[in-house]
């Protein structure tokens, strides 16, 4: 009925986004903003756009939120199985190949644009993956609606051989550029630093958009609900499970 009056239903949830990655000396720094939009409404003010692929590989996702979530979860599971099979740490190119084959098979209908970064035995790596399945290997990369604002910062300030802290500062600056200059990006800055053997996820590393007016009293509900009657029923076990030797079901 409302559509007749001209109300358009919100399009699927997109992450109109700024995501970036930078390769520093021996480490990779990934950054993302935290705004998820459904049309012109901000659906989630503080969502997580940096997904775990492996302990040493992380992936930022832009595009349709469901697609980025599903595809990274799927490939993350595949990587885990692969780790069990091979007994080795996952490599970034493995994640890259799995992701790009998946996306190519779906001919661009899986609308996920990803920035994949990680450190493995062969060193630090950073790749971008486009919805149709093409990839780039880059020292610095940006994706999402705020990618031009962030790329402007990178193109003017990237140098080779950045240290970890310089990398984090550059990434923060680039994400802030996206947050303040792009309407599809906003709220906070998430950072992830991946080094050999160590991954640091700095959730809400910077919060440049706090709520302006917060009531000092907090919020209380006006009327307390009256308790009329209390009855407690303890849950009882009907069956006793006894383990008779052997291995318990393996995890």
């Amino acid at each position: 009925m409302l559509t007749k009056k001209g109300l358009k239903p919100p399009g699927y949830l997109k992450t109109g986004t700024t995501i970036v990655g930078v390769v520093c000396k021996d480490c990779v720094v990934l950054g993302a903003d935290t705004r998820a939009t459904a049309g012109s409404i901000v659906a989630d003010k503080n969502c997580e756009k940096i997904h775990n692929m492996a302990p040493n590989i992380l992936c930022c996702g832009a595009g349709t939120a469901a697609d980025t979530e599903a595809v990274t979860d799927n490939i993350s599971s595949q990587l885990k199985l692969h780790r069990y099979h091979t007994g080795r740490e996952s490599r970034v190119v493995t994640a890259l190949t799995l992701l790009k084959s998946h996306l190519f098979r779906y001919q661009g209908h899986v609308s996920a644009a990803l920035v994949l970064g990680g450190v493995d035995v062969t060193g630090p790596h950073l790749h971008t993956i486009y919805p149709h399945g093409s990839t780039d290997t880059l020292p610095f990369a940006t994706m999402g609606s705020g990618s031009l604002a962030a790329m402007a910062i990178f193109e003017s300030e990237y140098r080779e051989g950045l240290t970890r802290d310089e990398g984090v500062n550059l990434v923060t600056k680039a994400i802030c550029s996206g947050i303040f200059n792009d309407l599809g990006s906003g709220s906070n800055v998430d950072i992830c630093v991946i080094e050999k053997g160590k991954t640091e996820y700095l959730r809400n590393h910077l919060t440049p958009n706090p709520r302006t007016y917060i009531s000092s009293k907090g919020y209380t509900f006006s009327k307390k609900t009256e308790v009329l009657h209390t009855k407690i029923t303890p849950l009882k076990e009907l069956v006793d499970v006894v383990q008779v030797g052997g291995d318990a079901m393996e995890e």
Partner: protein, 241 residues
């Protein structure tokens, strides 16, 4: 019969602007206010679709005594605008009253022109930047092809909106010296050169102060393409491309 007559005499109006695309286009313009006046930068490229057809197009032009206009978009429409402005300045001079039109007046005139053309569905396909100094007052204004107009301390058109504006918002200050202003403009132009496909490495910078107006000779920016990671991107990641 009557229909044919109507069509014959009013063909131009009826069909006016129903089909219009830009053909030869200029890319971004960047303008900033600095301590002594206004600085504007534009490259000299005229693209014909996806070819860079003309490489010596002057997109920054003087208007009267006090102002400079820069245009991005359709070059032929810019030339038309220059003709209108020529007439405007001529009539202003003919009054011979000691007054001369400043950048604010030129900006307002162009806003009216652009908006009226837009209302007739026959726009002049340009984004204009007008800058100037008159009686010590610095002025920097922008007009788009649909008549959106505003004034600001730093402006950009076209791709400059996305690539230059974030840098200008971060690094522009009220008291930039001439050298600092040029450096800031060059930083933005270099960015555009790297990331805008229709940019060419041949640019002009214009300076407007109370004393006068100069448009520099064309020159090119130094660029750096030799990051080790770009030379051999997949050296560490066998199997990727």
């Amino acid at each position: 019969m009557i229909l044919r007559w109507i069509l014959y005499y009013h063909q131009k109006e009826i069909l006016r602007g129903l089909i219009e695309y830009p053909y030869v286009t200029g890319t971004s313009i960047i303008g900033i206010k600095y301590k002594d006046g206004i600085l504007m930068a534009a490259d000299m490229g005229g693209s014909y679709g996806s070819t860079i057809r003309y490489k010596s197009v002057e997109r920054l032009k003087q208007v009267g005594k006090h102002s400079l206009i820069g245009a991005s978009g359709e070059i032929s429409d810019f030339q038309e605008i220059l003709k209108y402005l020529d007439e405007l300045i001529l009539h202003d001079n003919m009054w011979d009253d000691g007054n001369s039109l400043g950048p604010k007046e030129v900006h307002n005139y162009l806003t009216r022109v652009m908006y009226n053309r837009r209302n007739k569905f026959d726009p002049l396909w340009n984004s204009l930047v007008i800058g100037g100094v008159k009686n010590g007052q610095k002025y920097l204004g922008s007009v788009s092809m649909i008549g959106v107009h505003y004034e600001d301390d730093h402006l950009a058109t076209g791709f400059g909106n996305h690539l230059a504006r974030p840098i200008l918002r971060e690094e522009w200050r009220e008291d930039l010296s001439f050298e600092e202003g040029v450096k800031l403009l060059e930083k933005c132009m270099r960015n555009l050169l790297y990331r805008d496909r229709s940019a060419v490495n041949k640019l002009q910078i214009a300076k407007i102060t109370e004393e006068g107006l100069t448009v520099s000779q064309p020159y090119s920016l130094k660029t750096f393409w030799n990051f080790a990671a770009f030379q051999n991107p997949t050296v560490g990641a066998t199997g990727s491309w």
